[in-house]
Symmetry: D2
Subunit: 341 residues, 4 copies
Amino acid sequence: MLHFDCDYMEGTHPKVLERLVATNLEQTPGYGVDEYCVSAREKIKAACEAPDAEVFFLVGGTQTNATVIDALLKPWEGVLSARTGHINTHEGGAIEAAGNKVIGLDHSQGKVAAETVRSYLETFYGDTSHEHMVQPGMLYISHPSEYGTLYTLAELEALSALCHEHGLTLYLDGARLGYGLVSAGNDVGLADLARLCDAFYIGGTKVGAAFGEAVVFRAPGLCAHFFTLMKQHGAVLAKGRLLGIQFDTLFSDGLYLEAARHAIEAAAKLKAAFLDKGYRLYIDSPTNQLFVVLDNARMGQLGKDASFEFWEALDAGHTVVRFATSWATREEDVEALIALL
Amino acid sequence: MLHFDCDYMEGTHPKVLERLVATNLEQTPGYGVDEYCVSAREKIKAACEAPDAEVFFLVGGTQTNATVIDALLKPWEGVLSARTGHINTHEGGAIEAAGNKVIGLDHSQGKVAAETVRSYLETFYGDTSHEHMVQPGMLYISHPSEYGTLYTLAELEALSALCHEHGLTLYLDGARLGYGLVSAGNDVGLADLARLCDAFYIGGTKVGAAFGEAVVFRAPGLCAHFFTLMKQHGAVLAKGRLLGIQFDTLFSDGLYLEAARHAIEAAAKLKAAFLDKGYRLYIDSPTNQLFVVLDNARMGQLGKDASFEFWEALDAGHTVVRFATSWATREEDVEALIALL
Amino acid sequence: MLHFDCDYMEGTHPKVLERLVATNLEQTPGYGVDEYCVSAREKIKAACEAPDAEVFFLVGGTQTNATVIDALLKPWEGVLSARTGHINTHEGGAIEAAGNKVIGLDHSQGKVAAETVRSYLETFYGDTSHEHMVQPGMLYISHPSEYGTLYTLAELEALSALCHEHGLTLYLDGARLGYGLVSAGNDVGLADLARLCDAFYIGGTKVGAAFGEAVVFRAPGLCAHFFTLMKQHGAVLAKGRLLGIQFDTLFSDGLYLEAARHAIEAAAKLKAAFLDKGYRLYIDSPTNQLFVVLDNARMGQLGKDASFEFWEALDAGHTVVRFATSWATREEDVEALIALL
Amino acid sequence: MLHFDCDYMEGTHPKVLERLVATNLEQTPGYGVDEYCVSAREKIKAACEAPDAEVFFLVGGTQTNATVIDALLKPWEGVLSARTGHINTHEGGAIEAAGNKVIGLDHSQGKVAAETVRSYLETFYGDTSHEHMVQPGMLYISHPSEYGTLYTLAELEALSALCHEHGLTLYLDGARLGYGLVSAGNDVGLADLARLCDAFYIGGTKVGAAFGEAVVFRAPGLCAHFFTLMKQHGAVLAKGRLLGIQFDTLFSDGLYLEAARHAIEAAAKLKAAFLDKGYRLYIDSPTNQLFVVLDNARMGQLGKDASFEFWEALDAGHTVVRFATSWATREEDVEALIALL
């Protein structure tokens, strides 16, 4: 069986694993104050060209989103998100469980346009009863989005300016950030994110780490006691160095982007094959997720030899499915899948 | 200035006031265990033909919604609602503040169709990752809806059957229930609600009381400690008898429906006048709320002598506004408004 | 039966009632923007000698505590309180339901000493793992306390200075504030509270109003959207003027203190009688609550003709009970109770 | 520097690490449905002699406590705990953040006596206003406790019977359970816990795993959607197999207890040395945590060569410190520390 279900089916990048093994019996203090975490933070701040930034390591995406959003929202505020945003659909209500409302916005292939936000804010402030409503306090976006699409730098700049003009913070979910950064046509860099977003996270779980996400706050003091809030959200790893070691390795010698590039190359090859063989792409994603329309009979047949993810029913006879590559995708599996097509 | 802004501009129905005055210096225990509350509960249960029902008195609509929803949802569940539902728009995030996600559904003039719920559930359970999502635990509807529209008995029966088939509770927000019950064409009675809904509330604030909402739970034991949960939500009135006296009076000699009828008659007269004079209704509501399209110049002029509520901008030149009548609307004000038209 | 159970057994002070009746059919906008609320706010600010203060009207004590505490705490902070504080015992977990931890402190007859707070803070900051703990963000006190005791001005000044030195806000629960202000020996005035506390509330429910509490924030902007947060807590009364009218009346011609004085005089008379007849006071309260030790046989006998509140079992043969007077206590009832003793 | 600060300074047991390395590039589905998780669950159920139990894997202790407590409490209930319980002190308010009140009880060296619980319940239900208070819904205990003390089987049986008699669930925090199970004098086994507790967790983080805790629910269906609730608490590890592999290894060939025994033997040796050299033990703990009273001068000197944890100031001249051993403690470090004493 060829597995293209998702980008987190394997453990961790061999170079990361090697480092974890080498340090296994060292003794370090817990909770992220060890030297590996210190070093990893410095490397990330350097990569972001943001010496004043604050960096924290958490274990997974949902807990990261819930904690950061809780940190930056006031209790009377809510967070704007594409209706398809991960926080609005697949996080088991984690945002709301912390008391914060997610306000769904229209989107285009997972992306929120500045115009949509502006229109929301105009309607909101134009409503004489808006003090009865949750105040818009943050915009949440994903890069790449749930549909593998990417914001341009110009789009991000427009969103950032709009948010800050209206007192909203801008938070970017980078669960698959590495894949976005090296995709064809991407013109957004880490330094741009650190400049434009109030907070964002660099996804490790899906890009070479066994687990772990690195939150970057643009400026110090955005959250006075983020560590305590992490604890409150169950997001402090006792052996915090396991996160430090992973991110320190990923941010040494360009490994994070190198690992991402591997996935993008595999995806590009696969995409060319899909198009070449006449398959229809549901969305033209430049990243490591390919959304393909299959007729249901074809889907059943292909499913005997390859696994992929059901995305949504398109019509009575067709289904949208997702093929994902990763840092670990084997060249021979790509070839074999292409042969099956 | 003629006021048609909303249905809660006056104090309380004279008969209710008279009773409050007469009992003012009586001494009763607090928190709703007094004899007036006991009597009011019995009258409401009788009116609902539901001897096993449980009845609780709360102060206002938002606190009632937040408390009942919190009582009936499990922590992993969310509540389905029309996207325009009061809980999803104008309650300051009260539902989410208690940790409960509101899941917005498409609607027609504020009403949710059984087909919409069925489709949501099919998509939900058809999604292989639905265990990562908030489980649908309740359907919230309003009768009348935010747009003054009414469910038919057949529609309610379909929703109730569908909910119970799938393990959802059905909760009906009756902030303006009285006005719905006596509207032209309404075929839903209190006994129907007590039979079809797991919980609903009979709105007092907008229908003759100074404040107060009566929650009816279909069956005993749906919530083992609802009083404690009310306390937790700040929803227990110390001098609980003030609620008991009001509802006892409203449910004596048909006062609740009589008060409602007054508003409906005034609204019908007004509606006829609007239509007669060529105004366009945005929605054809049979209840005490009329949604009228005004061109903006006309709106400005009318606004000099009458007040009404901005609802939404329709297009560059037109606005939807709401005129509301109530149990207290004066005949002469209706006449004067008609003269202005 | 003579009722001395509590201070909220009657409706509202006749002068307040008269005003509610007189204004009953007036039409005003909802939610507290009417002229009565505006006037009441000005009178309260004047009484507090605090022209910059912000005043909000809520319905009951628990909802007031939950909302104010939620407004002023950061998500990583908790509130210090006497272990016997109302928020820690009799509010159904309302504070925690909003996500805020109550940290119980030792106390003396319901009062928290500055020394106790200082010691807590020293231990807290001396603990190297204090970032794993809820940060102390507020001190909650009651005046009068749960046991009817009063802070002296010097004690309040010490607490205020200590809190502000350590970045804590000071919040005072004044459910029975009126009774405290006119008690023998009290040297604390409203202006002192407005100067020393970041927030406090002036209790109406127990001191002449039918319901209602007036929150006073020392300075503008302590909570940017308190109204929205009130909405979120279900604490906005639709017909807000009912609160405005009550407080406007209570703060006209000294009615609030006059009503309180009535209760204190009755309590003083009763206390003298208890002492005269050899009863033992559990706590020597100068306010409207008397805590008396009864032997159980005597308690049973007295209970046939008078009702009072069980407070706690003292030992096998004795019980502490509470007798409360109020603005509405009848002279003849006091005489009759004294005769029974 | 000799490190005896805590029992989570190293990575993971070499046998566990070996298995993680061996499986690193395997492809498995995420979120805990892989075969390693399945196998680990079966081994744990077998070790607990509880074929009907449900087992879930989470990442850390605080998130486990917050999620399990949230799962089993009703919204109107709170959890009883020793005042020194981890959930009441060092979890950043995680329990309250999910809306659940922790009710502190007196304790003896971290242990709660059945008599204390009984007395609490009697006082609670004897209070006529108990419906205004958070209902007691669960008892939380730790084994070993925060002070390294252990419950006897008889004590656990008494607590279990008492809880179930009064409708409380019993939940046991086993962060250091392994160390407890193999301590001298312990008469409690996994099967006892699975029989007596409604839920408990087997700590991995501190006993041989890199991270991970295994929750055991006594009976199926105690929480209908625990996975969704885990997601909501940010407690689902994407690459769930990392937890499955660790616990599968720890529960093969008795590794979990073997690893624990290593720590207990080291602790016993150290304890004997402390006593031999005239040091005073603050608490006579049979587990891997030793609480020693040091005079402050001695503490400063010892601190130059060894690290240990500050526990609390005893008096002006003495401090209680903690020395912890673990599965990874090196024999030569123990010898070296003894030499220093």
